[in-house]
């Protein structure tokens, strides 16, 4: 196959063929995901969250991820924004307590809009952590990471099996969709009611195919001598070959320690000193000035 190998497929997209991230242990990379997605929970100040997004973007760039790949998340980012700001506009809360301002002939309230913005920055920062993770990690990395933090085999295996089933499910879904189009289904000219009905139609073949698959998988598990306890036939502990292929190096410990320190500091500053609230936000001041209140 003529393959200008620019990327490797994963269940959720693609990862670069080569990336500096691969020099780190999968567990370190999982820690980065946790760090990038949990830190924003302790931070209201949008400047910091925007900085975290910038860090994630920089890391994406550094990790040799094709930035074109990010484009497919744009509709998601946009939909979330639309939803949050619409809610803030339509249901601002007790209007008497709020500061109104006018824009394009509509009346907005400062606090809910500002809060929507703060929450949005936080959410997007968390989302970029996840995007970064799934753009630089394959399923195998996730499994190794989970085994490294000593998740029991059966649990990580069920996770793997469900990820795999999800992948097959998505493939079946795509094929069924194609088959419907091959029979003249025209999504563009359909009413909402028809679309709902359409999804119930997917259920028949998807369920049917899944049933056959479930049967096959249980046979496959039997054929390979798998028992529910996941204990090997000889008794004793199950070996963990995959995990032992990887070793945590000095750079991993340094990275994990650094992330741990920063995270610890953020939590301590937030809880101990009440830092990172949005009061100190320059953007907020700018915003107030911008809308003239």
């Amino acid at each position: 196959m003529p393959k200008a190998e620019i990327a490797k497929k994963t269940l959720l997209g693609v990862v670069p063929v080569d990336s500096p991230f691969y020099r780190f242990h999968p567990a370190t990379r999982l820690m980065l995901l946790v760090f990038l997605s949990v830190t924003p929970l302790f931070v209201d100040l949008p400047e910091i969250n925007l900085a975290l997004i910038a860090v994630a973007l920089f890391l994406l760039r550094w990790g040799k991820v094709q930035l074109g790949q990010i484009k497919r998340y744009l509709p998601l980012l946009f939909t979330v924004a639309l939803f949050m700001f619409t809610v803030a506009y339509l249901a601002p809360g007790d209007r008497a307590m709020l500061t109104p301002f006018k824009l394009l002939g509509l009346t907005f309230y400062l606090e809910p809009i500002w809060w929507a913005f703060v929450s949005y920055c936080r959410l997007i920062a968390m989302l970029f952590g996840a995007i970064l993770y799934f753009s630089t990690n394959r399923e195998r990395d996730l499994l190794v990471a989970l085994r490294t933090i000593r998740l029991p085999f059966a649990a990580s295996y069920v996770l793997a099996l469900s990820l795999r089933s999800a992948g097959m499910f998505m493939e079946d879904f795509a094929t069924i969709r194609e088959a419907q189009q091959a029979r003249g289904l025209d999504l563009e000219s359909m009413s909402i009611a028809d679309k709902v009905k359409l999804y119930t139609m997917y259920a028949v073949p998807l369920f049917a195919v899944a049933l056959r698959r479930a049967d096959e998988i249980s046979n496959a598990l039997f054929a390979r001598g798998y028992t529910l306890s996941a204990r090997p036939a000889t008794g004793g502990k199950r070996s963990d070959y995959l995990r032992k292929q990887y070793r945590l190096l000095a750079r991993d410990w340094v990275a994990i320690a650094a992330m741990g320190l920063v995270f610890g500091a953020v939590v301590a500053l937030r809880i101990g000193w009440g830092a990172f609230t949005d009061d100190a936000s320059l953007l907020k001041a700018l915003f107030r000035w911008g809308v003239g209140v």
Partner: protein, 287 residues
């Protein structure tokens, strides 16, 4: 105007795989064509592009003059070309055979009476008996499920149908049944048939024209009989002519034609060569 015109078609998957790298060909009305080539040669991608199921990243496909990549041509397109998927399970989504076959005509917005006529006609042609109309398609045996899938495609009265691996996983009798059926459609009803397959004996016995793809390009395209004489070229896409053809080609020095397609042809050919030799032999003995 040719029924299918493919011009410099390109298709690249998001991971960078270039599945089609400039394919050009035309298929006339009433042809029976086999698309062959190893996995990854681009046959399935090409067949899906032709039916408008994949949007090419370059070049274009015209079916009966319609550019298949244009928006809003879907309904026009399915009346001209139908696609039968390899696994019937993926394309049966109604709870009754009758509705299944009627799904396409319904999408086309045809009135009920006309639909009913189309359903009955397609079922009859595909050999799906009316007593099965209220069965659940999923519980039918595999051969019958495939027939329902074909009937469902025929019900839109396409001029051409593309069938992906019609004989995969089938035994001898089932393979002959489905191929004889497609052959009948081609001969009697004048349909254009395109099959995508790995089974060379099937290609040799049924397809009038064969197109071999290799690494996203057309490797060779011509009458099946001629295509199979280019064994060395076909080897590039890991395709071997049927065993009978291969044998004949090792005996060309002995006067055997290199372009036989079936065992029966080869038997006749060997009989001819032997008779000729005997003829020469007796004449010599007589002189």
């Amino acid at each position: 105007m040719a029924l299918i015109e493919v011009e410099d078609l390109r298709f690249q998957y998001p991971d960078g795989t270039l599945a089609l790298d400039g394919v050009s060909l035309t298929i006339e009305r009433g042809e029976f064509v086999a698309l062959i080539g190893q996995n990854g040669s681009g046959k399935t991608t090409l067949s899906k592009c032709i039916c408008g199921l994949l949007r090419p990243t370059g070049g274009r496909v015209l079916v009966d003059g319609i550019d298949v990549a244009k928006r809003g041509v879907k309904r026009e397109l399915v009346r001209r070309i139908g696609y039968v998927f390899q696994n019937p399970d993926h394309q049966l989504f109604n709870s009754e055979v009758y509705d299944e076959i009627g799904y396409g005509p319904k999408n086309l917005g045809l009135p009920e009476r006309e639909r009913d006529a189309l359903i009955r006609e397609a079922a009859a042609v595909a050999g799906v008996h009316e007593s099965l109309f209220h069965e659940h398609p999923f519980f039918l045996p595999k051969g019958l499920r495939q027939r329902v899938a074909i009937a469902a495609t025929l019900a839109m009265r396409p001029q051409a149908i593309v069938v992906d691996e019609p004989t995969t996983g089938q035994d001898l009798r089932q393979s002959l049944e489905v191929m004889d059926f497609l052959s009948e459609l081609w001969r009697r009803q004048g349909h254009t048939i395109v099959i995508v397959t790995h089974e060379m004996p099937i290609v040799a016995a049924y397809a009038q024209r064969t197109i071999a793809l290799c690494q996203g390009r057309v490797l060779i395209d011509g009458p099946t009989r001629e295509v199979f004489t280019h064994a060395d070229l076909l080897a590039q896409t890991y395709v071997k002519p049927p065993q009978a053809t291969r044998l004949a080609q090792t005996w060309t020095a002995l006067g055997v034609r290199p372009d036989v397609l079936t065992v029966e042809e080869l038997v006749a050919e060997l009989e001819r060569v032997l008779a000729e030799r005997r003829g020469v032999g007796t004449r010599r003995a007589g002189s």
